[in-house]
């Protein structure tokens, strides 16, 4: 079980890192295709608010899991 938690730790960290270029590229693509106000508002909220929270928490959580910090259940 502890090994599975650590392996998943790698997955969470990779997800946290991977989400950054994915979101930014999607935002650039959609804003370039239609530079409307609503597109700017939407992607600003996603990039400024949602993405940093998801990335930071997944990366940190993944690193903790990989180090075995959650081997004893919370």
């Amino acid at each position: 079980m502890s090994l599975i938690k650590k392996l998943f730790g790698i997955l969470w960290s990779l997800m946290g890192v991977g989400i950054i270029p994915l979101v930014i590229m999607q935002a650039m693509k959609e804003i370039a295709a239609k530079p409307s106000e609503e597109n700017w508002i939407f992607w600003s909220i996603v990039i400024v608010v949602l993405m940093p929270i998801i990335s930071f928490s997944l990366i940190t959580f993944g690193v903790f899991a990989l180090k075995g910090e959650y081997d004893v259940l919370a």
């Binding site: 599975i4 938690k5 998943f8 969470w12 409307s36 106000e37 609503e38 508002i41 939407f42 909220i45 996603v46 608010v49 949602l50 929270i53 928490s57 997944l58 940190t60 959580f61 903790f64 899991a65 910090e69 959650y70 259940l73 919370a74």
Partner: protein, 526 residues
């Protein structure tokens, strides 16, 4: 004799706990009411405070303001959580109540965009931020306060009453709006009557402040303060110390993020889906939600109490998993049941009104109303309004820009059988909500120590609910819009909005199952 003394003492303890629950819950319920009337009246507020040129932009602007109300919540959690761990729970959540009540009351008094121009949306935006800030401080305080008064082994049960307040707040908001709307008639309500639910808040908050002033401080906090064990810097202790930070992260990713999206999907998204995807008439769609909430609310207490017996984890995780698996089938059935293409129209009963032409200001407004009846008892009313400027130059300009399109309002009134089925579909979703939300206050309270509990539990709760959950309407609307082949055409996948809550709840479920213990109910709150 000794037995009698014990019984009297137990009765007094239960009675005291009940008073604490009642006083805390009323205030929290009113804060939720204040917060949700804004979201429920999003469409009217967008018309009143944002430029009308582009209705989608206006709605998105309101949703952004709505999201801002949610996004600011974690900051309120940090600010008031710190205060609550430093000076006490009671006075902190009294302050949040005053801020919330004051901002809500003020929103009801702000003149519209037509009167004061850009100041209107700017003021509303600031007031909405204050609402979010206050709410961020309220919930953690109330949950902590109640948990710290509750006997060990019953925290799930007692804190579940606080958990009912969010849903009851939404219920109260919908109820007040419906009553005011019916009393004043729709045009008056849309003109100025929408302000009444905001203004009513001042009275509700006044009552709640009176009740809360009579409450005593949390016994655990008092004891800790006497012993000089309060935290000097709750923020640093909560988020800079690895042992606490890792609990904050697991609370967020394994519990509150998934719980947040399930909560907003089962209530807010359901309402938005009924109104926008199924075109169900305003009052009928609201009563579907209201009735489902009434029947669903006792389950918060049931699952809260059950979590004291079998643990918090499995109930919350079961709620997330069932929601993930059931959302698409449930919404498919909801959509199909309201889909007029799948019903048989009684053509001879179709009525199309004569065009009604009115001159309103500088425009000519032509209205045509079509009423249709279907064999299953469903009725459909379509109102088409075409607004054409009297000024020929302006008319030609708008025509060239393709802006002379008629505005269509669709209102489906379901037959009784389908109406009850819809209530059933929403009720099932409210059950998912009660499973994930009923035990969560006890879960959060029990994983953090008393000295930093208010701060530590508030942040993951408000990021999970405010950010992950609060963005459900914005992101889901966007996902549906992305499947629309062209403006004016229906979306190819009206259920596409569900992918966001399904994804977040799935990740939360896997993390929760792997990393959360089911034994938190045995932990000592000290």
């Amino acid at each position: 004799m000794a037995q009698n003394v014990t019984n009297v003492s137990q009765t007094e303890e239960i009675s005291s706990t009940r008073r604490v629950i009642a006083a805390s819950s009323v205030g929290t319920l009113i804060e939720w009411y204040d917060f949700y009337i804004f979201g429920t009246l999003a469409k009217i507020i967008s018309e009143q405070f944002f430029p009308k040129d582009n209705p989608t932009a206006a709605l998105l602007a309101t949703l952004a303001t709505f999201a801002a109300g949610f996004v600011i919540r974690p900051f309120g959690a940090l600010f008031f959580g710190r205060l609550g761990d430093l000076i006490g729970r009671k006075y902190t959540f009294l302050v949040t109540l005053v801020i919330m009540g004051g901002s809500t009351f003020a929103i009801g008094l702000v003149p519209g965009y037509k009167t004061i121009g850009f100041f209107a949306p700017a003021i509303v935006f600031i007031l909405r931020l204050l609402q979010g800030l206050a709410l961020g401080g309220e919930y953690g305080g109330a949950a902590t306060y109640v948990a710290e008064h509750s006997p060990a082994g019953q925290r799930g049960f007692w804190t579940s009453f606080i958990q009912t307040t969010a849903t009851l707040g939404l219920f109260l908001a919908l109820g007040v709006i419906l009553i005011v709307r019916q009393t004043l008639t729709v045009p008056v309500f849309e003109d100025w009557g929408w302000r009444i639910p905001f203004i009513v808040s001042a009275f509700l908050v006044g009552v709640s402040i009176f009740i809360r002033l009579k409450m005593s401080e949390s016994p655990m906090f008092v004891k800790m303060k006497k012993e000089g064990k309060t935290s000097a810097n709750p923020l640093a202790e909560s988020f800079k110390q690895k042992d606490n930070l890792k609990m904050v992260l697991i609370a967020l990713l394994g519990a509150t993020a998934g719980q947040g999206v399930v909560w907003y999907t089962g209530q807010f998204y359901a309402l938005s889906f009924l109104q926008n995807a199924c075109n169900i008439e305003f009052e009928q769609s609201n009563t579907i939600i209201l009735v489902a909430l009434v029947f669903g609310t006792p389950f918060f207490v049931l699952f809260g109490a059950l979590s004291d017996k079998i643990g918090r984890k499995y109930i919350m995780m079961a709620g997330m998993l069932i929601a993930v698996l059931a959302y698409r089938p449930i919404y498919t059935m909801m959509y199909n049941d309201a889909d007029l293409k799948q019903k048989t129209e009684i053509v001879e009963q179709t009525k199309v009104s004569e065009p009604k032409v009115e001159v309103k200001g500088t425009d000519t407004v032509t209205t045509i109303v079509t009423n249709k009846t279907y064999t299953d008892g469903t009725t459909y009313k379509e109102t088409v309004k075409t607004t054409i400027p009297l000024d020929e130059t302006k008319k030609a300009e708008l025509a060239a820009a393709g802006k002379l399109k008629p505005e269509k309002k669709k209102a489906v009134i379901l037959s009784k059988d389908t109406y009850y089925k819809m209530i059933g579909f929403v009720f099932i979703q409210v059950i998912f909500v009660t499973m994930v939300y009923g035990p969560i206050a006890a879960f959060l309270v029990e994983i953090f120590p008393t000295r930093i509990r208010y701060t530590s539990m508030s942040l993951p709760y408000h990021i999970g609910n405010g950010v992950f959950g609060g963005l459900v309407p914005l992101i889901s609307t966007r996902l549906v819009e992305a499947t629309r082949p062209a403006p004016g055409l229906p979306p190819a996948d009206p259920l596409a909005g569900l992918w966001y809550p399904i994804l977040i709840a799935s990740v939360s479920f896997v993390i929760g199952m792997l990393y959360i213990s089911n034994k938190t109910n045995n932990m000592d709150v000290e």
